[in-house]
Point group: C2
Chain length 336, copies 2
């Protein structure tokens, strides 16, 4: 393997991504403490705290059950801001299109973006359009960057998980990734699942009512729940123990994963969040989440343990425990 080449796995959100980030990308960031590796940057201007984030979307196919690349791009960036406990306000849209891409598909995508932004109360305020010759891109890539304001004094971040904290999720795991996979491979058997693509800012607003008990908010997108929890465990220097029987799945996702030999814990989600909260607030947070349309299937899925090496384990339904690691390599390229 030529070590000088960028591999698909470098974009997976897993181990290779982490290494690339540490080696090459993080050194160009300034003013960001390494411990602050979160979904968005925290910036302060004249005493006002802002969250600022960017994401490029290269999902294939661009249309799928439950959304398209446009709704994904809007909701994904809203969620990165929401996971900072911030209120998303403004968004930019950067389009890179391949010559010959369909104007009517573009219109559908842009309409969806406006709709998704309106629904979440976010204004798309600036944009850019580039076109490259046929064969130099694949249909359309969309970058969205966003700015939100932080209107509370809470300190939330991937390095704030504490032993004893409870780990919650707001619903079924793996829907987005399996929907994309099924669409790409033409698997008819899963016609009853769709992407969970959704804006989570209203749900996080509810959760933040738990105040200082809220320690971590993170959306398990690329790399899935497993990679995201492992990241947090390493950042916080804690361990975690998950209870497999409490993990919410839709049957179709379980079925496809069983057939294809995939572990749904590594499959991407686009409308899910992981909440790590002080134990005494866990039940109240769960109730708030269940009362929200995007949290009906919420569950407490595990807890934070004492372990300085960031070990994450799962109590298997079949008995025994197994270790949870970051995604190695690339399971599903171009999932978002």
């Amino acid at each position: 393997m030529d070590n000088d080449l960028i591999l698909l796995g470098h974009g997976s959100g897993g181990k290779l991504s982490h290494r690339l980030l540490s080696d090459l990308v993080l050194p160009i960031l300034s003013g960001v403490p390494a411990s602050g590796q979160n979904d968005a940057a925290l910036i302060t201007h004249n005493g006002q705290k802002f969250a600022f984030t960017t994401d490029s979307y290269v999902v294939d196919p661009i249309f799928f059950p439950g959304g398209n690349i446009g709704s994904l791009a809007v909701n994904g960036t809203i969620n990165d801001i929401a996971m900072m406990g911030a209120r998303p306000l403004y968004m930019s849209v950067g389009l890179i299109m391949e010559e010959g891409f369909s104007r009517s598909e573009l219109k559908t995508i842009l309409d969806t973006m406006r709709e998704a932004a309106d629904k979440a109360g976010v204004a798309i305020v600036t944009g850019d359009t580039k076109v490259v010759p046929r064969g130099k891109a694949d249909k359309i890539f969309i970058n969205t960057s966003g700015v939100g304001v932080i209107e509370h004094q809470l300190v939330i971040g991937g390095n704030r998980a504490q032993p004893g904290d409870k780990i919650l999720i707001n619903g079924a795991i793996g829907d987005h990734g399996i929907t994309i996979l099924a669409q790409r491979e033409g698997l008819d058997l899963v016609s009853d699942i769709q992407s969970d693509c959704a804006a989570l800012n209203d749900l996080t607003f509810e959760i933040l009512k738990e105040g200082e008990a809220v320690h971590v908010l993170r959306d398990p997108t690329r790399g899935g729940v497993a990679t995201t929890l492992k990241e947090i465990a390493l950042q916080s220097q804690v361990g975690m123990i998950l209870d497999e029987s409490s993990l919410p799945y839709n049957d179709a996702v379980k079925g496809v994963c069983a057939i294809l030999g995939l572990d749904p814990l590594y499959v991407a989600n686009e409308g899910k969040l992981l909440l790590i909260v002080a134990p005494q607030a866990a039940e109240a947070a769960l109730e708030r989440m269940k009362a929200h349309p995007l949290g009906r299937q919420s569950a407490i899925i595990g807890e934070v343990t004492e372990d300085t090496r960031g070990r994450v384990e799962i109590n298997a339904i079949s008995g025994g425990t197994r270790a949870v690691e970051m995604l190695a390599g690339e399971q599903l390229p171009r999932i978002c």
Copy 2:
């Protein structure tokens, strides 16, 4: 011609781009008055005015005399903010790479980005990395979005040009576009020119000392000086008359354009700004610009006239006048 297809010209910054923007892209923007079509969006939060902008860079080749896709991406976004009269502060970086792209080239590009950002006093605070399979992108595309603060009470914008105003530029026209063209076509004859790629925020800071006399600041990138002035004329509902003999060019650019039949007024610049200023302040502005390292060759190149239809004309050296229109079609794809 199939009207449903996106053409290369839709990314040129010229006529086709404008039509696509008006038809499809601008309708998704909210809270932005149409008259405010500038390089960046103006947003106000708690009385503090910010500029927010995004640009994706797809330049081919990615390395060229005077810079690379990284310095272009950093300086281009800084300039969009600076043209709003804002002080650029924070930037995001979104990378889309093709599988198999060189890690060492990536490192060079990222190092250049950090260097360019440091030089301009801007912090890169957040980023995103995506990888697509070989053949689904061309080496690397970079999105940069940026946030700046507006620390003055001036009203600057493309709709503020007034009859009698003077039009200034800070130096030679067409260097970036011709450098890219020469590099791409292997033209040895132009080995003595290089891209003018540079951050203009320090120069605009000097110019803003002219206070209320400053009406428009705009960087003539895609579509060149001609398209940019035509845009401003339409936005401000004024005319313009340029003096061809006052337009600053480097000899190599003039030579290449003559040989290839290109009009340098339509060629992209990456370190130039057009300033439209009240007549009584023009000489002082010119002196300030000439005193700046990025403005040695500054010149007054024309003036704003009364004409509600946005007519831009040029007094040709050869005698007579000719009309200046927006770039039609695509002259040089992937120039930035």
